[in-house]
């Protein structure tokens, strides 16, 4: 097993965009939506609201993907970028 040149990253890389991933967890707070009305197409609020929850989840994960794709990391300071850093996270 080769040791990758220069150790190209620290243990944890963090982008503030990742915080968006917390939003979908609101769906665990059942009192928000455990009610009959307003109904939509005859469906109680409880049911259609959770379909909205799926959409919110997708928007959050898709946003994080888009925003972290091309600038995945804060480069470690004081170190020359090597070619891997430039590749990291790019589509191909």
């Amino acid at each position: 097993m080769s040791v990758r040149g220069g150790g190209k990253g620290q243990g944890l890389r963090f982008s503030p965009w990742n915080l968006l991933l917390i939003i979908p967890f609101w769906i665990l707070i059942t009192p928000i939506y455990n009610r009959e009305g307003p109904a939509l197409f005859g469906m109680p609020f409880f049911y259609w609201f959770q379909f909205v929850g799926i959409a919110v989840g997708v928007i959050c994960t898709a946003t994080v993907y888009r925003m972290t794709r091309d600038k995945p990391t804060v480069p470690a300071p004081g170190r020359d970028l090597d070619v891997d850093d430039l590749d990291e996270g790019s589509a191909r």
Partner: protein, 548 residues
């Protein structure tokens, strides 16, 4: 034997034949240099792109049993059964980041199973073996459940006999599945998943548009459900949650989401993908299946409105609520369309069953066989061993269904969810930090496992006439920590898995500083920080299917 439903059978048989041909042809699909390596047989060459991964993981997680059992749950209990929605909503944001790290470290170190990672991270045979065995034990009943799903369809089509005759179609289907999985490995379910999911999407979209129109709209469907739940004596059912089961709803969703990618078969689907971006895209694309699952779940209420009645299983003599969905399709649709729906469910059982058996076989081979029985096994020997193990796993699952009450598989799967959660600290947390001491993790595993099991054992289900293993909802009143009952008198329910996981983490956190102070050896970490960020295209990435 009931009267056979010929048009349904012919369509079912034709589609089954199609996937059989695909299953065998899969061995040549995007073939690598050799199939005699676990990277190839067990992970399809680690090169699946976005679409294949979407079909594969979708086919893997949203199983036939899910499609049969979730609507049956709504049919029986109402809102509580809808927990599958928050579960799949939070699952993807939850695993988005850790899965990428798992993929990268596995790709750069050649890990095939989660237990491989634990072995590399902690250098501990004990911990890795615990993780591997937990994975195998949790997966086995899951495979058996796929058979329950398949059999509910076969019985609805008329193969509802007692004894061995009633099981024969199931046996034939499974032998075929076993043979092509043996030959083609993970490529077989990946290819078949295309057929399975296309069928499922078509069937559910048609059903969701057609059935409400026929039954007078969602309005009258929900009114019928409300009327049904008002009649029953039970207070735990209903179209909405009640004060006592809201916590159970949320914790069951959270626990299931945490457990989802700890299951070996989910990890297999993830590790088979080509790169990090493939996974990221899938975290946004997989919820499409959740929409489908949610709509399908609501058909459980449609079955109430339609007055569907479950079949009595001729083998056990009990009413089998899992036949509600197939019966609804049988009653409400022309037989040719019911045939397509049944094929969707039937093939939907084969895909996850194949992936699960491959995942269990990988665990056996890498973490038991190579660890204890044959430490110098070559990659070709590993592949051979895994192929054999996949056969044994599948026939073990069939034997489960044939000789033991299917209810036992359902109970075991419930237990399996609680068990697999106990590997979370060793697998998921270890992806981020090595703060926990290896002996802390081991101690936590034991406490979480045994406490979780004993809590499950103590939960009765009077409605089903069971004294033990009656469900996963624990009344807080029963929570007893060494004689201390913090919530005595409360009837609020919580998911056992979460309780056991908290105990697991607390013990691990307490033992960790003790073990450090006693200077107990904490294993050797053979991974490097950069491993957790490796991606396809890195110039010094480990070659796929390389030796050692």
């Amino acid at each position: 034997m009931n009267e056979l439903q010929w048009p349904e059978l012919i369509i079912f048989g034709g589609l089954f034949l199609l996937v059989t041909v695909l299953g065998f042809a899969a061995s040549r699909w995007r073939a690598g240099r050799t199939l005699d390596h676990l990277d190839e047989w067990g992970l399809g060459g680690r090169k699946f792109g976005t679409w294949i991964t979407w079909f594969l993981i979708g086919g893997d997680l949203y199983t036939a049993y899910t499609f049969v059992a979730v609507p049956a749950l709504l049919f029986g209990a109402g809102a509580m059964g809808f927990f599958a929605m928050p579960y799949t909503i939070i699952a993807y944001p939850l695993v988005f980041l850790p899965l990428l790290r798992l993929w990268s470290v596995s790709r750069s170190r050649g890990y095939v199973t989660p237990a491989d990672f634990v072995r590399g991270r902690y250098g501990s045979r004990v911990l890795a073996t615990l993780v591997a065995v937990t994975g195998i034990v949790a997966t086995m009943p899951y495979i058996a459940l796929q058979l329950v799903g398949l059999e509910s369809v076969l019985r609805t089509m008329g193969f509802n006999a007692g004894g061995l005759l009633g099981h024969l179609p199931l046996l034939i289907a499974f032998v075929i599945l076993a043979v092509y999985t043996y030959q083609s490995g993970l490529r077989a379910p990946a290819l078949i998943a295309f057929v399975k999911d296309t069928l499922i999407y078509v069937v559910i979209i048609v059903a969701v548009l057609y059935l409400p129109a026929k039954l007078g709209g969602w309005d009258s469907i929900f009114s019928a459900a409300e009327a049904k739940f008002a009649e029953t004596e039970s207070t735990s059912d209903g179209v909405l949650l009640n004060p006592n089961n809201q916590l159970q709803y949320a914790t069951l969703a959270l626990g299931s989401a945490l457990a989802l990618f700890l299951y070996p078969h989910a990890a297999t689907g993830v590790l088979a993908s080509r790169g990090r971006n493939v996974l990221k895209r899938n975290m946004s694309a997989l919820p499409a299946y959740s929409v489908l699952l949610g709509l399908l779940a609501l058909l459980g209420f449609a079955a109430v409105a339609a007055g569907t009645e479950a079949l009595t299983n001729a083998a056990t003599g009990r009413v089998d609520t899992n036949t509600i969905m197939p019966k609804l399709f049988d009653d409400m649709f022309p037989s040719w369309f019911a045939g397509i729906a049944f094929a969707a469910i039937g093939i939907g059982a084969l895909v996850p069953a194949a992936i699960m058996s491959i995942a269990a076989a990988n665990l056996w081979t890498r973490n038991v066989y190579k660890e204890f029985l044959r430490r110098d096994a070559t990659p070709a020997q590993e592949a051979k061993q895994a192929k054999l193990a996949s056969l044994i796993v599948k026939f073990g699952a069939v034997a489960f269904i044939l000789f033991i009450d299917p209810q036992f598989s359902i109970d075991l799967q419930l237990i399996g969810g609680v068990m697999i959660l106990q590997t979370l600290p060793a697998v998921a947390i270890a992806l981020y930090t090595r703060w926990f001491h290896v002996w802390g993790l081991i101690a936590g595993w034991f406490v979480g496992m045994f406490w979780g099991l004993s809590l499950l054992y103590g939960i009765p289900n009077p409605a089903a006439g069971k004294e033990h293993f009656g469900g996963s909802a624990l009344a807080l009143d029963k929570l007893n920590i060494l004689g201390w009952q913090p919530f005595a008198g409360s009837q609020v329910q919580i998911y056992v898995g979460i309780v056991a996981l908290v105990a697991n983490l607390v013990v691990a956190a307490v033992v960790t500083p003790l073990a450090r102070r006693a200077k107990v050896f904490n294993g050797t970490d053979s991974t490097e920080p950069a491993d957790y960020h490796a991606d396809e295209g890195d110039k010094d990435l480990r070659p796929i299917a390389s030796a050692g």
